[in-house]
């Protein structure tokens, strides 16, 4: 009977077996990675649909806990992880080192799964570092100057965030003598730590804000994401910033710490700044991956707004947007990787008219564009709608108006990008261009289909995934 420990043992075992699989055949490495990814995806679906029991799990000293919120994030991590693993099997042909790449990628998945399954602050910190260290190396995996420079920047800024988080954890432990989530919540409910609450709260916001790349803590992201190999960019933007940053913020400020208007205000301000500035800066980019990176900052802004408003509808919208953004942003990053794979450039001014040469990439990009811009019936429409409706119901009319305006702005700049890259006159140097290889195409087709199906069947997704997650935070 599968249980929560499989989220650790499957990626760890597969990573350990990678060097041996590499001795057999390169396709054995691909098969092992994809199989591990598929099992993890099935397990995460099991936590949502009831096949894998959630709640407390104990085996020896291994203590894990999963609730509706963990199940949502497990689905996000392992669904996108699987798509990226499938994509990477062909993408790595030009990069090499596939056993090491998949080994690091699986450890990244292990770290992310660990973050959402542990129930004390120290273990959360530890698994966040497991994921981060694998991510630094994956960003630098090409060992080209850009990649190493970006990985170093990512590392240095992350270390600042990590240090703040660790100091805050130490302060909590010194004062309360425990780091277990429920115990901290109970102590705080009894009025413990009123002064330290402000200090540790600020440290957690800045520390996890750096991990989530919320403005103004975003400086590492626009460099790290473009320089990384495409599957790494996809998982960084689609999953890592949400799990290491947003999940931790949700768990601490909506699950453990008492909710205060000040914290809600900080979330809304950071969210609006990220949403607006991220979108405006994205519009001026010529580098497609850099543009997508800034767009991620903007979309994280929507999530922060939903969480900050605190209305049950807005929280549900924010949680739904976490699931949706992971899908369409990973899709768009993987497509940008396919473009770079074939053209050798990320500069959109050099592209144009690629629609007929790369029909799968072009069509799935349209899906991603419509989803991120919030066009019905794609998934992004419903999550943004809930956030905006939640803002209206809570009386945040200005925030609701800004969210709607920047959603239209997002549609505008993504359509311009679509036209610059895929439509118009074909650049002569791309006349012999071919579609991306099969595995890369399959991965983006899966993600494009999920963007549409999550929107069409949003009611079922809400009842299966989002409502149990929102219930953990006290909303429905």
């Amino acid at each position: 009977m599968p249980n929560l420990s499989w989220f650790f043992t499957i990626p760890l075992s597969a990573a350990l077996l990678m060097p041996f699989a590499a001795k057999v055949h390169r396709r054995a490495v691909d098969g092992l990675a994809v199989l591990a990814g598929f099992i993890l995806l099935c397990l995460s679906l099991g936590t949502v649909l009831g096949g894998v029991p959630i709640g407390d799990f104990t085996a020896g000293g291994l203590l894990l806990r999963a609730d509706g919120l963990s199940a949502l994030f497990l689905l996000v991590i392992n669904a996108i992880g699987f798509a990226c693993l499938v994509y990477a099997t062909d993408y790595l042909d030009h990069l090499g080192g596939r056993a090491k790449f998949f080994g690091l990628f699986l450890i990244l998945l292990l770290g992310l799964n660990g973050v959402v399954l542990v129930h004390d602050l120290f273990s959360l910190y530890l698994y966040m570092e497991v994921a981060s260290i694998a991510a630094y190396m994956l960003v630098a995996f090409t060992l080209e100057f850009d990649g190493i420079e970006s990985a170093l920047k990512y590392l240095l800024l992350s270390v600042v965030g990590t240090a703040l988080i660790l100091i805050a954890i130490s302060l909590v432990y010194m004062r309360l003598g425990t780091l277990e989530f429920t115990a901290i919540k109970e102590s705080l409910a009894q009025g413990a730590m009123p002064r330290l609450f402000l200090l540790t709260g600020t440290m957690f916001v800045v520390g996890f804000g750096l991990k989530a790349a919320i403005m103004p803590f975003h400086a590492w992201l626009p460099d790290a994401h473009p320089s990384a190999p495409a599957p790494v960019s996809a998982i960084l933007s689609g999953v890592v910033i949400k799990v290491a940053g947003v999940y931790s913020l949700i768990r601490i400020f909506l699950g453990i710490y008492p909710r205060t208007p000040q914290i809600q205000g900080v979330f809304i301000i950071l969210g609006v700044v990220s949403m607006a500035c991220g979108a405006i800066i994205a519009y001026y980019q010529d580098d497609i991956k850099r543009m997508l990176a800034y767009s991620s900052i903007s979309q994280i802004g929507y999530i922060m707004i939903g969480l900050g408003i605190g209305h049950p509808l807005a929280i549900a919208g924010a949680l739904f947007h976490i699931l949706n953004h992971a899908q369409f942003k990973s899709l768009l990053f993987l497509n940008s990787g396919a473009l770079q794979f074939r053209t050798g450039t990320r500069n959109m001014t050099e592209m144009g008219g690629l629609e007929n040469r790369m029909p799968v990439t072009s069509t799935t990009s349209v899906f991603g564009t419509l989803a991120i811009a919030g066009v019905p019936p794609f998934n992004g429409f419903f999550s943004k709608l809930f956030i905006i409706l939640g803002a209206i119901k809570a009386g945040y009319y200005a925030v609701a108006t800004l969210a709607a305006v920047f959603s239209i702005f997002t549609l505008g700049y993504f359509l311009i990008i679509q036209r610059r890259v895929f439509f118009g006159k074909l650049n002569a140097k791309w006349k012999d261009l071919q579609e991306a290889p099969l595995a890369m195409s399959v991965a983006v087709i899966l993600l494009a289909a999920s963007c549409l199906l999550t929107g069409v069947f949003f009611h079922q997704i809400l009842s299966w995934v989002i409502e149990p997650a929102a219930a953990v935070l006290g909303g429905k």
Partner: protein
């Protein structure tokens, strides 16, 4: 008083690390700073943290740094690269030895009755805390070490490719 002196040593070593022009010396200063930090943790009864500090920060991270530095040395610096070749296994052996010593004998010697860690967490001894209560963290540490191994292997692979390309050009 002892703790203050040790903290001062840690501070000076970190300063030396920042000012050192040679990366190898900086890595060694970092390792020594970690050793003194681990000693402070032992003195205050934080066994688990001390062992983690010794094994990961002083041991593994130093090995990673020294390996990386040795990989990035130019061919005209062979003497120093050879030195790192000897240092690498020496570091590994030294820190494994220190870990074993700390776990087996030094722990009870350092354990202070006024330790800050609540007494119940040490019930059953260090091994129970390490393997019984914190298995989740031990698993995380194993994953950290594995990611370090993959990172180093990737660097070696790339270096070999780079050298073969350069060799091809010369031919």
């Amino acid at each position: 008083m002892g703790t203050i002196l040790l903290l001062l040593l840690v501070f000076l070593l970190v300063l030396a690390m920042g000012l050192a022009r040679d990366l190898l010396k900086a890595a060694i200063a970092l390792a020594l700073a970690s050793v003194f930090l681990a000693t402070i943790l032992f003195l205050h009864g934080a066994w688990v943290a001390a062992v983690f500090e010794l094994s990961v920060c002083s041991g593994l991270i130093t090995v990673l740094f020294v390996s990386t530095i040795s990989l990035t040395k130019d061919s005209d610096q062979k003497e120093e690269a050879k030195l790192t070749g000897y240092l690498l296994p020496a570091f590994l052996l030294f820190f494994i030895g220190v870990d074993c010593l700390a776990l087996r004998w030094l722990g009870p010697f350092f354990l202070d009755a006024k330790a800050m860690v609540p007494a119940d967490t040490l019930t059953g001894g260090f091994s129970k805390v390490f393997w019984g209560d914190r298995t989740t963290d031990v698993l995380g540490q194993a994953a950290l070490i594995l990611s370090g191994v993959f990172a180093i292997l990737s660097l070696f692979k790339r270096k070999a490719q780079h050298h073969s390309l350069e060799g091809g050009k010369h031919e």
